[in-house]
Assembly symmetry: C2
Homo-oligomer: 347 residues x 2
DNA sequence: GTTAGCACTCGTGAGAATGGAGTGCTAATA
DNA sequence: TATTAGCACTCCATTCTCACGAGTGCTAAC
């Protein structure tokens, strides 16, 4: 991070105090408050001078003449990068809650979102892992009834997909067996992205008169994977934003909550986060830094979790710019550890 | 419905006008407005007298002295039961939109919710069908790897469930075949609710040394069905409530939107609706009539759709009490027809 | 470099004034 | 007897004013 902020220690301390106080109260901070509640032993007048400087430098903003100062995006940024103190934070019941109903992936993720929303009081989202170059582990066709066969596809990480394929006439047992053999021997261990036309052609050739079925099944596989491109996202606590007056006027509230309901924008956020590989840890978007326009008045904190096998997903927290960053980041870190533990126990 | 309202035609007409006008404007309706915009040719004074009567009878309410009147719950009820005129309504693009991405059940339902929200401007929900006494159609166990087997369960209506079962040691091909035979011959056509201990005991006996697996699988089946008790619900347009001032103060908005996010309460609504078998068509809950306390200031209109095989789900619209009931009910009816068509084409 | 002091600004909240929509009642009318 | 015109009254919503207080910037003194 940049350290060329050109601020002396006193200015830093004042800035830090302003931000901390504002994080707590949500009200502009005046010079007198600072003079009283720091150990700098400076009069309010001196503080005022310093504050004027800080404003010139763009770290704080005066909402109007004769109001105190509030942090600017730039101020928050400096705070997050440098001024924040690590905070020990207990998330005791998180573990319990998580483990309770954690027997299905989707429930686990939903639960994670809930826990996070509860313990931070912000809006949260958890994206299901994306199957980047995930390999096929097992394919099976079975005759369900006269003209429907079901294709069961299992991928690494035990991701299961099903697809019902309608066929003109039932296939006999032997053919079925042959097709299954064919599919498994040829496709096992192959990443979906690597299934190309040549491969398909070869399979069809070997399938002989049943090439139609093969083609249908392969289509189904491709399709099934494709469909998950609109990745699933679990959310919780969207209504937490009502707790923060600066976000809860009708206009903002509607926009933000809409984003949480329709999820399209959250998906973009996830995509962006996963794409920016410069920092695989925790990312903080303050105000206009966020990739999603709707949240230009919010701060967004995201973290990426990994499942091995190239599968990764994103956890995000959305709240006001005066977010309790320390707490949020600490909580996120803890959650990541939890998730990791659970995933690796299960796989 | 009760027809013992003891109102003469003129009172009915006045009440109807009040409600209609209020539905449009959301503002209390005064006597002068009515006198002008009906063909009754009565002066405002006469109307006032009638309105006083209507108020005594409980059909309308005066928010405060010197304000116009607004309908009471009782007034709305009468309106919905008797005064409403059928309205022809086009939902042209509904069909298109529906059919677009309708290849998976969940997407279809989500899409239905969206369409409904778009064309009504209210908040909507669609519950996935519940599998009441749904029968098993097909079960298959397959070895995925050394100590995991996958159980694929297909039920009538092509509802597919999967469960990974971990086993101590791999089963050989022959055993697998035998188990599959065993399961299918014994369970096909049986409703899940009918699988009892005796049946399980018999299966275990026949499975011999692999009774452990059978028991695991059966557990899985039961579990899988069970899990769907927290039925899935798709929502859309929750933020539409911001369009109605009477619902969009922070308090109400937060409560309603929370209900839509957490879905717990919607689930109750669905359960209640499905349980009240007196009226399988469209149901209207006005204000305090609703089973869910959160929505005591709303109106809720629900409809039940059927998939045959005893599977049914619920579609619901939640909006202000001054809802455009005619439009909503018409739209709901159309949607039901659509859904029916699509379902029966697919199955 | 720091501070005390002071005039000044501006948002906030509490009344007060105003206007208008709508009512209920009474007495006159058909 | 049902309807209507007229009128006094009520109450909400809007606007305006005003005083308050928090906070500032500047200047002069330390």
């Amino acid at each position: 991070m940049k350290a060329d902020h050109g601020l002396d220690d006193r200015k830093l301390k004042i800035l830090q105090t302003i931000i901390k106080t504002y994080l707590e109260t949500g009200e502009p901070v005046g010079s007198r408050t600072i003079s009283k509640y720091t150990d700098l032993n400076l009069s309010s007048a001196t503080i005022r001078n310093e504050m004027a400087d800080l404003e010139d430098l763009g770290y704080i903003i005066q909402p109007h003449t004769s109001a105190g100062r509030i942090p600017s995006d730039k101020g928050y940024r400096l705070y997050v990068d440098m001024l924040m103190e690590d905070k020990e934070h207990e998330i005791t019941d998180m573990q319990e809650k998580m483990l309770q109903k954690a027997d299905k992936m989707e429930q686990l993720l939903q639960q994670a979102a809930r826990v996070l929303a509860n313990s931070t009081n912000y809006a949260t989202m958890v994206s299901a892992p994306t199957y980047n170059r995930n390999k096929l582990k097992f394919i099976q066709l079975s005759q369900v009834d006269a003209n429907q066969i079901i294709a069961v596809i299992v991928m690494e990480g035990n991701i299961i997909k099903n697809k019902i394929v309608t066929v003109a006439e039932p296939l006999d047992n032997e053919t079925m067996l042959k097709l299954n053999m064919l599919l498994n021997t040829n496709l096992n261990g192959i990443a979906v992205e690597d299934i190309n036309l040549g491969m398909i052609a070869r399979l069809k050739e070997q399938a002989g008169i049943h090439s139609g079925v093969i083609s249908d099944v392969l289509d189904a596989v491709a399709n099934t994977i494709q469909l998950d491109n609109d990745l699933e996202i679990y959310t919780s606590g969207a209504t937490n934003i009502f707790k923060y007056p600066e976000l809860s006027d009708k206009q903002s509230a509607q926009e933000i909550i809409s984003a949480f309901e329709e999820k399209q924008q959250l998906a973009e956020l996830v995509t962006q986060t996963l794409a920016s590989d410069e920092n695989k840890g925790i990312q903080v978007y303050i105000g206009s830094e966020t990739p999603v326009q709707t949240m230009k008045d919010c701060s967004v904190v995201t973290a990426t979790y990994e499942l091995g096998q190239g599968m990764q997903g994103t956890v995000g927290i959305i709240g006001p710019k005066r977010m309790d960053y320390e707490n949020v980041m600490k909580t996120l870190k803890t959650l990541m550890v939890e998730l990791d533990a659970i995933f690796h126990k299960k796989s």
